[in-house]
């Protein structure tokens, strides 16, 4: 019809103007570049500045290998223990009402809310050579502080909320009906656990495991306090990186750093892959809940 006002090309009422969109995306990308991409590239560039030979020599150094070994060992002990604890705690919290449940939920978060350095101090104050408990252990030939057991303990402490925190909401969302169904169908407690409970939280559990592992290998503060920095004995990879750096051995420091960076990248990839699996399971629950509510 003539005289009808010309309109701008239509866009949905909720869409932002193009300029705003471009500006927001640009800000995000610049930020990412400054704080993520450039540092990551810098780590590898620094690590390789003296050539690939020096890079591998730095990693193959006996002290570096000892640090890698200690880090792997610490993770190998801390991660399974925390995953076990995480399953037990989340199951108890999601399934049962018991006095002190809220307190337990709060206590689980303590390692998150306390500075890692203080976590380390806790163990020194508790188990150091001059304390009664530390003295008792020392008399029996067990050194905890400034030795491997202290590092493992500190790592367990700082990582223990990770698996539990990931599992509690999933366990709660899945509910107990399937478990009850398994029991009524004649399954025993362990059969129910391995055939029904565990498969239902499988992806969430792996997700928690990946996060727990990354933190266990990368922990600096708490471990630094209890380690004593004995080269070749009580140095984990992050501590070793610091020592190298303070010794002006930048190429070697960055070479070991690059291993931790690769761990971080692998963790991110695993996290993304697993996260996608965890979310649909939750989504399905929500759909069901909506249907039920309707």
């Amino acid at each position: 019809m003539a005289g009808q006002p010309q309109r701008e090309p239509k866009r949905p009422g909720t869409a932002d103007p193009p300029m705003v969109r471009i500006a927001l995306i640009a800000i995000a990308l610049v930020f990412l570049a400054l704080f993520l991409f450039i540092p990551v590239i810098a780590v590898f560039a620094e690590a390789l500045q003296k050539g690939i030979g020096a890079y591998f020599a730095a990693i193959a150094d006996p002290e570096a290998r000892a640090a890698i070994r200690l880090t792997l060992m610490t993770a190998a002990i801390a991660v399974p223990l925390n995953v076990t604890f995480g399953i037990a705690a989340s199951w108890a919290i999601a399934r049962f009402d018991f006095p002190g449940k809220q307190t337990l939920l709060t206590l689980i978060d303590i390692p998150f809310s306390v500075s890692p350095v203080i976590s380390g101090m806790l163990f020194v104050l508790l188990l150091g050579a001059r304390t009664p408990l530390g003295g008792f252990l020392a008399d029996h030939g067990i050194r905890v502080i400034f030795a491997e057991p202290g590092i493992v303990l500190a790592t367990i402490f700082v990582t223990f909320p990770l698996a539990a925190r990931e599992l509690i909401p999933i366990m709660q969302a899945v509910g107990s009906e399937e478990e009850e169904a398994a029991i009524v169908l004649g399954a025993g407690g362990w059969q129910m656990f391995f055939r029904v409970t565990l498969p239902n939280v499988k992806w969430g559990l792996l997700y928690g495991l990946v996060l727990c592992n990354a933190r266990a290998m990368g922990e600096f503060g708490a471990v630094s306090v209890v380690s004593g920095h004995i080269r070749g004995h009580t140095n984990t990879m992050p501590l070793y990186v610091e020592i190298l750096y303070n010794d002006y051995q930048f190429a070697a420091a960055f070479a070991v750093s690059s291993l931790l960076t690769m761990l971080a990248i692998a963790t991110l990839i695993a996290k993304r892959f697993l996260g996608r699996r965890v979310v649909p399971a939750k989504q399905e629950q929500d759909d069901l809940a909506i249907k039920v509510a309707a």
Partner: protein, 356 residues
């Protein structure tokens, strides 16, 4: 297997879910526990299954106390309201679950398990879905898989918690008939929980009407519908109009109008007291002229002619809303319009009188 409940009580905190219930269920019966949410029916069902422990009382299976018997050894089948299918297993594996968890010595061979699973899936007409996952099925299909899974362990008692509650009306009716046929075929002692009176009336041999943790009435569909034990049961089973009035010297007053009613089924009949008159919508007649004291005046509010009966909403002279259902022929003959002043004549009513 017969079930006997003796003096069962269960509290959750301060809330009394089940209050001293006694109930006997014969072998092969299909019994409905009917009640509103919060009436304790699901708790009672879970107590029978062993999923809840009663605070007092005992459950007897076939005359034997089952209190110390673990859930997995009770030989009960439990169908959950939201199916509780194992979401990470295929339909086949879901149905096979009960067979796979049997101790190795007693467990049937793999070929035997497969045979039985397919047999059950054929029984529920879902054999073609054996490889699917629960999330790929419709609600009705999921419920049938849940039933097949339960039947796989050959339970002696089948317990169903709102089995059709989460399904739409059409599927619900279909499944209802299907369950009735299944029960006629395999004659397993069954108890199902429902809040849907129509479902209970259509499906059950006997209906247990529950309210606030206790039993209001036990009886066949015929008994509870036509001979309700009390006002609650009458009110709960089917639509009903409720007139608050009073009774003076044997005469019933609604508002200021005295009505003389024929065919009144009165319960407890003091001469004077507060009276509640219950009349089902289809037992009220609309007439254009008053007929002595058997009618009372009302004004038509709205008319809904969709459906097998015409639903007319009226306001009685003293302000109560009244629902009436008349057939289409009568509706045509009356030429009803909203706003019309008419008279209502109860054909049959229940009078429950409470002394003041």
């Amino acid at each position: 297997m017969s079930i006997e409940l003796r003096n069962i009580s269960k509290k959750f905190g301060d809330f009394v879910a089940v209050d001293k219930i006694n109930l006997h269920i014969e072998t092969g019966e299909l019994v409905a526990l009917l009640g509103l949410s919060g009436s304790g029916k699901t708790t009672l069902l879970r107590i029978i299954a062993g999923l809840e422990t009663p605070d007092t009382g005992e459950v007897l299976f076939h005359g034997e106390d089952a209190s110390g018997v673990a859930v997995r050894e009770r030989k009960v089948g439990f169908v959950f309201q939201h199916y509780a299918l194992f979401r990470h297993m295929t339909v086949f594996e879901n149905v096979a679950f009960g067979l796979r968890v049997i101790t190795r010595r007693a467990r049937p061979a793999e070929a035997e398990i497969a045979r039985r699973v397919h047999e059950l899936l054929k029984l529920v007409q879902l054999d073609f879905l054996a490889d699917r996952y629960p999330s790929q099925l419709s609600g009705g299909q999921r419920q049938r898989v849940a039933l097949a899974r339960t039947l796989a362990v050959e339970p002696k008692v089948l317990l169903l918690d709102e089995p059709f509650g989460a399904l739409d009306a059409k599927v619900r009716q279909e499944l209802r008939r299907w369950l009735r046929r299944l029960h006629d075929e395999i004659k397993i002692t069954s108890v199902f929980v429902t809040h849907d009176q129509e479902e209970a009336l259509e499906l059950a041999n006997r209906i247990v009407v529950m309210n606030q943790g206790h039993i209001e009435q036990i009886g066949s569909a015929e008994e509870v519908y036509h001979h309700p034990a009390n006002a609650f049961v009458y009110n709960f089973l089917g639509n009903v109009n409720l007139f608050h009035g009073r009774i003076e010297n044997g005469r019933v007053f609604l508002g200021d109008t005295a009505v003389e009613l024929e065919n009144t089924h009165a319960h407890a009949h003091p001469e004077t007291g507060k009276a509640i008159l219950y009349v089902r919508p289809h037992l009220l007649e609309i007439v254009m002229k008053p007929n002595g004291k058997q009618t009372f005046p009302a004004t038509v509010k709205s008319i809904n002619p969709a459906g097998p009966q015409v639903k007319v909403e009226l306001v009685a002279e003293w302000g109560d809303m009244v629902q009436v259902e008349i057939d289409h022929e009568r509706y045509q003959a009356l030429h009803l319009e909203p706003g019309a002043n008419v008279f209502l004549r109860p054909k049959e009513q229940k009078l429950f009188v409470y002394s003041i």
